[in-house]
């Protein structure tokens, strides 16, 4: 379930930050002194970083270990 949430969130972040979503803030205004379009991009950057951290801890760590072990086992089998 979390995997699906992360994928959907990633698609949403890219669509909002660099796709049609950017039109929602497309004004020459500023937010805390930063141009609104720029601040919008910075906000979605933090969302993407959060997705990467969760995916890395919850899924990639396990799959990297499994992938490495599979190759090692195969190499050991071939050498013996």
């Amino acid at each position: 379930m979390l995997r699906v949430v992360l994928i959907v969130l990633f698609a949403l972040a890219m669509t909002m930050a660099t796709g049609p979503g950017v039109l929602l803030v497309n004004r020459p205004a500023t937010v805390f002194g930063i141009p609104a379009v720029y601040a919008w991009g910075v906000g979605w950057y933090f969302v993407l970083v959060a997705i990467a951290l969760v995916a890395s801890r919850r899924y990639w760590r396990v799959s990297a270990k499994r992938l490495g072990e599979t190759v090692e086992d195969r190499e050991r089998g071939e050498s013996s």
């Binding site: 660099t18 002194g33 720029y38 970083v49 990467a52 990297a64």
Partner: protein, 549 residues
């Protein structure tokens, strides 16, 4: 009227920039020699550093290969021209980071299990060793690597033009030749180990340069408050989508942000970095660091330089209705170097300012050279392994192939250098080659065409050899038609409105008007369509039937 914070003229730099640059270039040659001393005989060591690169060196070399002169000269140059819209392109970095783990770990596994060295090794092993497909994969490698190396050489020239020649052509050409020569020499000496070691140092330098450039720009205005004030006063087109020239409408921006990073990750040099990693954990750590650091360096470091640059040196309107850089800047891509060279001595005093601006120059050189060396090194592997060994001399010894690889590096460097020098003097190509970002986008338009095949080989395994070849060919041709180079060539070769090339160009223009996405997306669309249709009507190849990777 000039703003009060604009330094009026460049300070006389004296010999300091030449000394700092000379020291840096000498250090690279020493590392090349050290890499040579640590190397063992054989292709696997020369091209993949024995498939044993740890997470730190792997991460740094992946980042350094990704961040080229695009990051330090191209991106601020494009923000200077277009405004805040191009800052959003920073978000292409997380896409690349995700691809590093999701594609890279599987590519690593295939390489480790079967001893692959190049992209074509893996792809063609899956598709029945098709010679046609191998040729097309090699062509994609060439179409990516040559413009990318050209882009780095051009940055070296731009740098020299600002530093030593007050923007003149002769200084540009000498700078381009020096950068190309030194890069070629240390790769030829030490192979992958030298490339990775120099990349690691260059990565630290260029990331430091990106963050410091942003800080220096804000300091030049007297603090964040005054910087924000100056930026808020920029014209409305500089603060909104689609930017100053109107080129960056959201479909274009979206296609670039999604596909450019995938093209950059599927380039031959990065592919070989996945093979050379010690294990998938190396790539997992690398991916996370990449996402946090690279996008952060863009957003908080280098992009504000372009915005501040617009406030310092306002854009000029041309008679044709376009925009031009301020006279003091010369070219859009030179904004960072001009700003630092003029502002730092004002901020920090003459000597310290010149030393710091020279260090920034070294950071730009590092960005350019770390990408040029990786691409030249990968190109050498591709041409030696996939062309020389397969088609010309199948019985060549490993030692012979390594030497051929070195000669390839020399020839490829010379070719890229000639293109830069001749292209800069050819009027019809000047527009196409003017901006570093345009050259980068041209290169990734081809490398991204490997995406459907890569996904099929690693995950789906439904395509056929004919489908893969036809799709890739269609993708390359279609992407080329939508690049600015096609338009430039048509106007040079067939300027008459009656020619079929002219009609084709007009058709491409009509398509672009309907769907204003980048050439990468047009190529990919044709590629996926043809790949799917041809795979559905042609027989599956033997390796796919057996489920082999």
């Amino acid at each position: 009227m000039t703003a009060p914070w604009v330094a009026q003229a460049a300070v006389e730099a004296g010999p300091i920039p030449a000394i700092v640059l000379g020291g840096y270039l000498l250090m690279l040659l020493v590392i090349g020699w050290l890499g040579y001393r640590r190397s063992r005989a054989g292709e696997e060591d020369y091209y993949l550093a024995g498939r044993d690169q740890g997470w730190l060196i792997s991460t740094l070399t992946i980042i350094a290969t990704f961040l080229s002169s695009f990051a330090l000269m191209g991106a601020p140059g494009m923000v200077y021209r277009e405004g805040v819209v191009f800052a959003l392109v920073s978000l292409n970095a997380p896409v690349a980071g995700f691809a590093i783990y999701l594609l890279g770990s599987r590519i690593w596994r295939a390489g480790k299990e079967r001893g692959y060295l190049t992209q074509a090794d893996m792809i063609c092993a899956h598709y029945d060793n098709s010679s046609l497909l191998r040729g097309l994969v090699v062509l994609v490698g060439l179409l990516f690597a040559i413009p990318y190396v050209m882009m780095q050489i051009q940055a070296g020239g731009n740098l020299a033009a600002v530093l030593f020649g007050d923007g003149d052509r002769r200084a540009f050409e000498i700078g381009a030749i020096v950068l190309a020569s030194i890069t070629a020499v240390y790769i030829m000496i030490g192979g992958m180990r030298s490339v990775a070691w120099t990349d690691a140092i260059q990565c630290v330098l260029l990331l430091g340069g990106m963050f410091l450039a942003g800080a220096a720009m804000i300091a030049a205005f007297g603090g964040p408050g005054r910087f924000a004030e100056a930026v808020a006063a920029l014209p409305e087109t500089s603060l909104t989508v689609p930017g100053t020239t109107g080129q960056w409408r959201w479909p274009f921006l979206f296609s670039v942000c999604l596909l450019m990073p995938l093209g950059a990750i599927l380039q031959p040099a990065q592919w070989m970095r996945f093979y050379s990693a010690r294990n998938p954990e190396t790539l997992r750590r690398g991916a996370v660091i990449f996402i946090v650091v690279v996008a952060g360096a863009y957003l908080f470091g280098i992009m504000p330089v372009g915005l501040g640059g617009q406030a310092l040196y306002p854009l000029q309107r041309t008679e044709a209705g376009g925009v031009a850089p301020a006279a003091e800047v010369g070219e859009f891509d030179q904004i960072l170097v001009v700003v630092l060279q003029r502002q730092l001595p004002e901020l920090c005093g003459e000597t310290l300012g010149v030393v710091l601006s020279s260090l920034f120059v070294v950071a730009v050189m590092a960005a350019s050279m770390s990408t040029a060396d990786s691409n030249l090194h990968a190109l050498s592997a591709v041409l030696t392994r996939d062309v020389y060994e397969r088609a010309l001399r199948p019985r060549a010894s490993e030692a012979e192939r390594v030497w051929v690889g070195r000669i390839v590096i020399l020839l490829a460097t010379a070719a890229a250098l000639v293109f830069v020098l001749v292209g800069g003097r050819t009027e019809s190509l000047q527009g196409f080659m003017r901006m570093i970002v345009d050259l980068a986008l041209f290169a990734v338009a081809f490398s991204v065409q490997l995406l459907p095949i890569t996904v099929d080989v690693l995950f789906l395994r439904r395509g056929t050899t004919w489908g893969a070849s036809a799709g890739l060919l269609a993708g390359i041709v279609c992407a080329f038609l939508f690049t600015p180079l096609f338009g430039a060539l048509v106007s040079a070769v067939a300027p008459q409105e009656t020619s079929w090339l002219f009609a084709l160009q007009r058709f491409v223009g009509d398509c672009r008007a309907v769907l204003p996405v980048h050439a990468t997306a047009w190529g990919l669309l044709a590629n996926v369509l043809i790949f799917t249709v041809v795979s559905a009507i042609t027989p599956r190849h033997t390796s796919a039937r057996s489920g082999r990777l």
